[in-house]
């Protein structure tokens, strides 16, 4: 029997809540991959995760899981603020096994799942649900999903509002389940840096639509027309970004990090109309490629760009340094 390359095949889904509509014309997720979903609040990340967890049926379109829409599902999801059953940690973690009538080595497997999320089973196994901190509760919730060895693990903001220790434990456990059981990971998060560290590919959502992928910067509208066929949007702290004509005034623009030049000074005699002052927040080495990803805060918005290690050393790029992000109006593209 040949297995399908794709675990999820989404086509033409539409789902609405009040004025908000999520529209995904097509999205395929490969078996064993780790996919991130990023976007601002209300962009549709949680809605997409709920639909992909089969908690709700889309109003239109279909989500095919494991090459068949009606096979026994092996996808499980952990919510942003997970709910623990009003029972002991043990009963919470092995609940999913019990409902499947799998009673083999329950204690041993529960202890292993707890250790996997860095909770000492001797201390935590018989604690009640109200005897846990927020981070510990999230780790127990993750352990109760890991024990099921799902084909797909969907996590909605898994490290939001948790302590550093819990955050590290969650990352390690998630990476482990992918390596050990080839679990497909679908993770939503605001934190792009974190998401980059655990996923292979990031889809960006904006206003219910897929608006770019990878490390692309998303520049939301509204866009206001200026003269000479230029349009602009205003960043939170007042600076403007100029673009060519958008498809509609609310469309989000995609700005690829490779299209941004990082400079210590403003440039003169250049065709690039966008020269925005920014402060370097973070430098991330991109493996052995010699590239460094720079995250800089420009007028209240984080933008990413790439430089070489040589440039970083030559320009003395360090967190807190003032720089200019330079790019052309034509660098902003529309999906």
């Amino acid at each position: 029997m040949t297995t399908n390359k794709y675990l999820y095949e989404i086509s033409g889904i539409e789902h609405s809540y009040g004025d908000f509509t999520l529209r995904i014309p097509e999205l395929k997720i490969e078996r064993g991959s780790a996919v991130g979903l990023s976007g601002p609040n209300g962009s549709g990340k949680s809605t997409l995760i709920r639909l992909m967890s089969f908690l709700e049926k889309p109003a239109a379109g279909q989500i095919v899981f494991n090459a068949a829409s009606d096979t026994r599902l092996r996808a499980t999801m952990m919510q942003q603020d997970p709910y623990l059953l009003k029972r002991t940690v043990y009963d919470n973690v092995c609940y999913g096994l019990k409902v499947k009538n799998d009673y083999t080595n329950l204690k041993k497997r529960t202890a292993e799942a707890l250790e996997r999320v860095n909770l000492n089973h001797k201390i935590f196994m018989y604690r009640k649900w109200f005897e846990l901190s927020g981070g510990e509760a999230k780790r127990v919730a993750l352990a109760s999903r890991l024990i099921l060895r799902p084909e797909a693990l969907l996590l909605d903001e898994p490290v939001a509002n948790v302590d550093t220790e819990s955050s590290r434990a969650i990352i390690n456990a998630v990476k482990w389940t992918r390596e050990e059981h080839s679990t497909t990971l679908i993770i939503s998060s605001h934190d792009l840096t974190w998401l980059n560290s655990v996923t292979d590919h990031i889809w960006k959502l904006y206003n219910g639509k897929l608006a770019g992928s990878g490390n692309a910067n998303l520049i939301p509208g509204p866009w206001i027309e200026e003269k000479n066929n230029l349009w602009h949007t205003t960043l939170p702290e007042g600076d403007r970004i100029y673009s060519t004509q958008p498809p509609d005034s609310k469309a989000p623009a995609v700005l690829h990090p490779y299209d941004i030049i990082l400079s210590e000074k403003k440039l003169t005699h250049t065709s690039a109309v966008n020269q925005i002052e920014a402060k370097v927040n973070l430098l991330v080495s991109e493996g052995t490629s010699g590239k460094i990803k720079v995250e800089a805060e420009a007028s209240g918005r984080i933008l990413s760009c790439y430089i070489t290690k040589t440039s970083a050393v030559k320009m003395n790029i360090i967190p807190g340094k003032k720089v200019y992000l330079i790019f052309k109006a034509t660098s902003l593209v529309w999906d």
Binding site: L55, V99, K100
Partner: protein, 229 residues
């Protein structure tokens, strides 16, 4: 006041000496109310779950009817059940009239609204994330029902205690359907009514004390389970 003091003294004597007629009324009451509460929980809890968990047309109207039935007069239930199970009634062939089984039918009708309404309120107050959690952990619809009831166990126990309290303390159904037949359908409440009418306070007080003790025991267990959980 002497007759009251004497009544209390005689009541304790009856209870201590194991007065047959008194203990028969107690036994009949416990038997009838236990069957009633069991049947009501079996029918009422899934109904309460459905009423709170699912959305369907007419849900609000059904809820309003169930809530109204909480104050259903016991004599009205007695009258209706009597009309149905009397020899001329549609269920006359089942010979339920003047039998404990007839009283059980009446009490079930009386207390089902209590179970449905209070359990539905309890389930409604549960965290909305519970459902998605159970589904994502692979629970079947039957498991979702059981786990949801377990999560709202305090509300379910309160519903059961309130319903049991209504069953053991009602007079209307037991009197009209059971006819207060000695050694057969006489319950604590019908016996108290009869003995008080006859001016025999001792047995009435003895049975009243037992009724209060049952209520304390039920509520005491509720508090105990709540603390233990």
């Amino acid at each position: 006041m002497d007759f009251l003091t004497e009544g209390f003294f005689n009541a304790f004597t009856l209870l201590v000496q194991g007065h047959d007629e008194t203990y028969d009324a107690i036994s009949t009451t416990l038997k009838v109310s236990s069957f009633s509460i069991m049947i009501s929980l079996i029918i009422g809890l899934p109904c309460g779950f459905a009423l709170s968990y699912y959305n369907f047309p007419g849900k609000k109207q059904i809820r309003a009817v169930v809530d109204t039935l909480l104050s259903l007069p016991t004599v009205v239930v007695g009258l209706l059940v009597y009309a149905f199970i009397t020899k001329k009634g549609p269920l006359g062939d089942y010979n339920l009239l003047f039998e404990t089984s007839g009283i059980i039918v009446g009490q079930v009708i009386l207390i089902i609204p209590v179970v449905v309404s209070l359990s539905a309120t309890g389930i409604e107050s549960l965290d909305e994330r519970l459902r998605s959690t159970l589904i994502t952990l692979g629970a079947s619809p039957k498991r979702i029902l059981i786990s949801t009831l377990y999560e709202s166990r305090f509300a379910v126990m309160t519903a059961a205690a309130a319903a049991y309290g209504r069953a053991i303390s009602e007079v209307g159904v037991s009197m009209m359907v059971g006819d207060n037949i000695k050694w057969h359908t006489r319950t604590i409440t019908t016996a108290i009514t009869l003995e008080t009418g006859k001016g025999e306070f001792a047995m009435g007080i003895a049975l009243g004390i037992v009724l209060l003790l049952i209520s304390f025991a039920v509520n005491g267990s509720l508090i105990f389970f709540r603390k233990r959980s």
